[in-house]
Amino acid sequence: MNQTYEPNRPVAPQHRNYLVEAAGISKRYGDVRAVDGVSLRVAAGEVYGLVGPNGAGKTTLMRILTGLVTPTSGTCRMGPAVGTGSKPRQVAGEGEGRVTAGSLIEAPAFYAAMSGSANLKLLCDYWGVKRVAADRALDLVGLSAKDRRRPYRQYSLGMKQRLGVAAALIGDPQVVVLDEPTNGLDPESIVGMRDVVRELRASGRAVLLSSHLLSEVEQVADRVGVLSQGRLIAEGTIDEMRRRLQAGRWVELEVNDLAAAATLLHDMGLVTTAPGTEGAADGHSAAGTRLRVQLTGELRPHAVNSALVKAGIEVNCLVEVRESLEDAFLGLLAEPARNGPATPGEGTTA
């Protein structure tokens, strides 16, 4: 595998070149807190996935970062920090040392009567980029020569989305902000879009993308931030999130002596439940022979099997179960009030 990026390799924060930095961003609309004290950082060559249900504040946060919306409080910066004493600025991308940021936020917006190509060339004019960059961006998102000449009003949802992403990529910006970039795309195009995002990362861009589907984000993101009711309630790498949310691995066992097995595994410091009795007081009080064991740390299923067999317990069946991060994510969202806001950095999970 030609893997040049190791998403789980720890990188010391002080050595990372953060191109996006937000500190204590809040946005209120009357009594409604759309974004509530969010702090996050995205480094060059990193894909940061922002996940949360509809209305969690993802789009508002992205609008703030791109300067479309002014935060009620907090600061944000796009671009490398200038000197040691540089302070984050209120408006994204302002001042010296700035970087260009391409963005697709919410629905793509273009002139309906103009072709896709003409729309992008117009943006090139506005942004001081050579018009050839429009064709380059269109190549990247795979909009055919025929389609790019059609009026935008004739575009399908997927084509509109591709054009929106192409607009975000015009001129190879150093920061790319994509709000639900796979909306309306067919499965093949979704895979292609992931490749585009990975390539952006490989070429050193900082990518901030959002989705309400954690399963979508975890395909490409190095780090994930979970937004709920405007608050960043968890943040970390995918594996950190999996670990901290206890969304890790389980084995389901079928044994001849449930009580003996449960006692042994409990003595090993493992959490056990009987499937279908998670809410029961002792977790495995139901009659039967099946038991679910959560694997922790480096513990492998065969180690559990060996321990049980050595103790004389017959193991008839052992199946490893990987709980999806999506399930853990939904569990986390179910109790947002219990979780305090996460602070920026590596592996923060409330």
Partner: protein, 313 residues
């Protein structure tokens, strides 16, 4: 792991591409442009050329001049029974090429002002409805640069409107001269340039006022209603009709956009000459110019403030 292999490929693209993939590897140079006032102006001018509303609006304005200021005015002048031969001669003389330095300006307060205001209102609000303004602004480091570019673009549109005004006037007056059997004699070029300047100032003022309304309202229909109600309803009808009987309104009229336009247009009409419609100056030409410039500046300030302070959600 439920995770696709991480591939730092240099050939990634969304499925369906037919064109060759350009390099976008880590080694590729970052060719990001820097949006500035000048790039914004370039974009505005590119967009103006592609906007149907600009061409349609200028076309309607040209048609209105040719139709009402010349064709209808000429037919009613020569065909009406209630004009004396002297009056008929005077009115036709105004429509000849020698009258191009003042005659067409009489059209500005009546139907030029509302048209320009409507054009400005549409241009000010339409990009909010489509959301395109967000896409463009997102890469500008400051909104002031973008707004300055937009307002400069409006001044260029106003200049195009002034040129259209004068060109249609010249062509129509030649037709009137040919039909009426009069000679074709144009005023001095300096007079025509002054007329062009006056038309530009009036067009700029009303386009800017409409644009400010559009920036505030952010909805095309609301902005157009605001512009039309003010120019036609409040200024032309309410204040215009009440001014002769309410002295305060008579004074106020000269400091409002339509009143200043009327005063400016009236100042171009030679002594002893009359136009259709008749123009009554409420202020001196210098004051009229200052008033129109002040309204333009006020509209620009409102647009700057509104655009700079409000969220683009």
């Amino acid at each position: 792991m439920n995770r696709e292999p991480t591939r730092a490929t240099t050939s990634a693209r969304v499925q369906g591409a037919t064109a060759p993939r350009p390099g976008m590897s880590a080694a590729a140079p970052v060719s990001s442009g820097v949006p500035t006032f000048l790039t914004g102006l370039r974009g505005e001018l590119s967009l103006m050329r592609l906007r149907p509303v600009v061409w349609v609006s200028l076309g309607i304005w040209a048609a209105c001049i040719a139709l009402f200021a010349y064709l209808v005015a000429y037919l009613t002048t020569v065909g009406a029974q209630w004009y004396t031969p002297e009056q008929q001669g005077m009115f036709v003389r105004a429509m000849l090429p020698e009258g191009t330095s003042y005659y067409v300006l009489a059209s500005l307060p009546l139907y030029g002002a509302p048209q320009f205001a409507i054009l400005g209102a549409i241009l000010g609000a339409i990009d909010y409805s489509s959301g395109t303004v967000r896409a463009v602004v997102s890469r500008f480091t400051g909104r002031a640069q973008f707004m300055a570019a937009r307002l400069t673009g409006l001044l260029i549109i106003a200049l195009a409107a002034a040129v259209v005004t004068l060109l249609v006037s010249v062509v129509s007056s030649v037709v009137v001269a040919l039909v009426s059997g009069n000679s074709i004699t144009f005023p001095p070029l300096s007079a025509l340039i002054t007329t062009l300047g006056a038309a530009w100032l009036v067009a700029a003022a009303f386009i800017a006022l409409g644009f400010a309304a559009g920036t505030l309202a952010r909805r095309v229909v609301l902005a157009v209603v605001l512009a039309v109600v003010w120019v036609l309803g409040v200024e032309s009808l309410l204040i215009g009709m009440l001014a002769p009987v309410v002295p305060f309104l008579g004074v106020l009229q000269g400091y409002l956009p339509v009143g200043a336009t009327t005063s400016l247009a009236a100042s171009f009409v030679p002594a002893g000459q009359q136009t259709v419609p008749a123009l009554t100056a409420a202020t001196t030409p210098a004051v009229a110019v200052a008033v129109l410039a002040a309204w333009t500046a006020l509209a620009a300030w409102v647009a700057f403030r509104s655009f700079g302070r409000r969220d683009l959600a």
